[in-house]
């Protein structure tokens, strides 16, 4: 399993990355931790001609405050997010979710930006970020724009990022909300068969559609005073889970209800 040939470019600033993207267009891919991209390249399911390594851009790494948000640089590694005292204090949901990504070796290399930019619905972080209404900052040649989590995930392995943009950071709210992240796997080290994130009154689901989605019917039922078990029964409304070797779509629907109920109860208990 060997990647097809390519040219590797290490860039030192976002501007350099943007210049390289402009120069190479569709032939280029951004590389951060590489833990989504390099396996695809080894299978030759991705064959970029140019890899632009943004992991060394200092401004893309680390955790800072900005108003009532926590700003996570896109190239911040999962292990940093998982262990960061700041993230642990101000956004437990994010730290906990990061701790369930892959395995220790993957968390030492994989980055939050790489994970969300890959746009896999069975990934952990996108689900929690969606529940938190995280804001994604993208920079292009014409400046930066902010993309709401609800608009960020577009389709199977597709995000709202254009080929000429670099994801700069992800902003999550500092507000202390009750939270939970529930991940069902058959084996310990696995992608989520289904996952469910609860943050305040928001509920998001992973692996229940092409993209991570909000369980809007659950959220409105709760707002209308439904109890947790009743509301959780609506978790699979407007979902379109696939069937694969791990689970049928029916079973995924069931798991979504179970995980959502467990998540809501756990979140409530943390209140």
């Amino acid at each position: 399993m060997i990647p097809a040939p390519f040219t590797y470019l290490r860039v030192g600033s976002v501007q350099e990355a943007l210049d390289a993207l402009a120069e190479y267009g569709d032939d280029a891919k951004l590389l951060a931790g590489g833990h989504s991209l390099i396996p695809l390249m080894k299978y030759r399911l991705a064959t970029p001609k140019v890899l632009i390594d943004i992991s060394g851009i200092a401004e893309l790494s680390g955790v800072t405050f900005e108003g009532d948000s926590l700003v996570i640089g896109a190239a911040t590694r999962h292990a940093i997010v998982e262990h960061s005292p700041v993230v642990k204090e101000h956004c437990r949901l994010l730290a906990y979710t990061a701790s369930l990504v892959g395995d220790p070796q993957v968390r030492n290399r994989g980055t939050i930006g790489g994970s969300v930019a890959h746009g896999d619905s069975a990934s952990d972080l996108p689900v929690s970020l969606l529940a938190m209404d995280a804001q994604f900052t993208a920079q292009g040649r014409n400046g930066t724009r902010t993309i709401a989590a609800a608009d960020f995930f577009v389709g199977f392995w597709q995000t709202a990022l254009t080929p000429n943009e670099v994801l700069i950071n992800i902003k999550v709210p500092l507000a202390k909300q009750r939270w939970s992240y529930q991940k069902f796997t058959i084996r310990s080290q696995d992608w989520a068969t289904v996952s469910s994130a609860v943050y305040g009154n928001a509920v998001a689901l992973g692996a229940m559609a092409d993209i991570p989605i909000r369980a809007r019917d659950v959220e409105s039922a709760l707002l209308q005073g439904a109890d947790i078990s009743q509301a959780a029964l609506l978790a699979d409304h407007n979902t379109s889970p696939s069937s694969d070797t791990r689970a049928s779509s029916d079973y995924r629907r069931h798991l979504a209800r179970v995980l959502t109920e467990d998540g809501l109860r756990e979140a409530l208990a943390r209140n």
Partner: protein, 158 residues
């Protein structure tokens, strides 16, 4: 496209002109000729290729050599200690029969080394979860867990 890459492995510098697509594991095995680090899958699941990169456990089959340019890699060949030259974790695997065919072992040892550096007294559950990215097809894992516990106990004594 090729790039001149300079990587320190076990405190020795290795500088080679390699294709940009060269995987770190192949740089270690075929350029540096340190063949203790193995390859067991294509998908970052098995952990046989685990090495330490600037002290952190990583899967060297999912890194490019150019990404590690200028960094420090530790492999099984670099482990040393006071047990006849073996480190506590190596000796733990010997004492508790934590290996059979030995193919996954170097990756296991490096994952365990990283674990014990971070958490000198891991619980059984912490050991098992720290090793969830390493597959062994021979031992059924219990003896690997015991091996880590042996090493943890010895590290405390020392």
């Amino acid at each position: 496209m090729t790039t001149r890459v300079n990587i320190s492995i076990n405190a020795r510098r290795y500088e080679y002109e390699v294709e940009d697509r060269t995987l770190l594991v192949h740089f270690i095995r075929e350029q540096a000729r340190l063949t203790g680090t193995h390859i067991g899958c294509d998908s970052s699941n098995c952990g046989a290729c685990t090495v330490l990169l600037d002290g952190q456990a990583v899967k060297s089959c999912t890194l490019l050599a150019v990404q590690a340019d200028g960094q420090n890699v530790s492999t099984v060949e670099g482990l040393t200690g006071s047990f006849n030259g073996l480190s506590p974790i190596q000796e733990g695997f010997r004492q508790e029969h934590g290996l059979q065919c030995g193919y996954c072992t170097p990756g296991m040892l490096m994952a365990c080394t990283a674990l014990l550096a971070e958490n000198a007294q891991p619980s059984e559950s912490e050991i098992r979860h720290a090793l969830e990215g390493n597959i062994c097809r021979c031992t059924g894992y219990e003896m690997i867990v015991r091996s880590v516990q042996w090493a943890a106990a010895k590290q405390v004594q020392q």
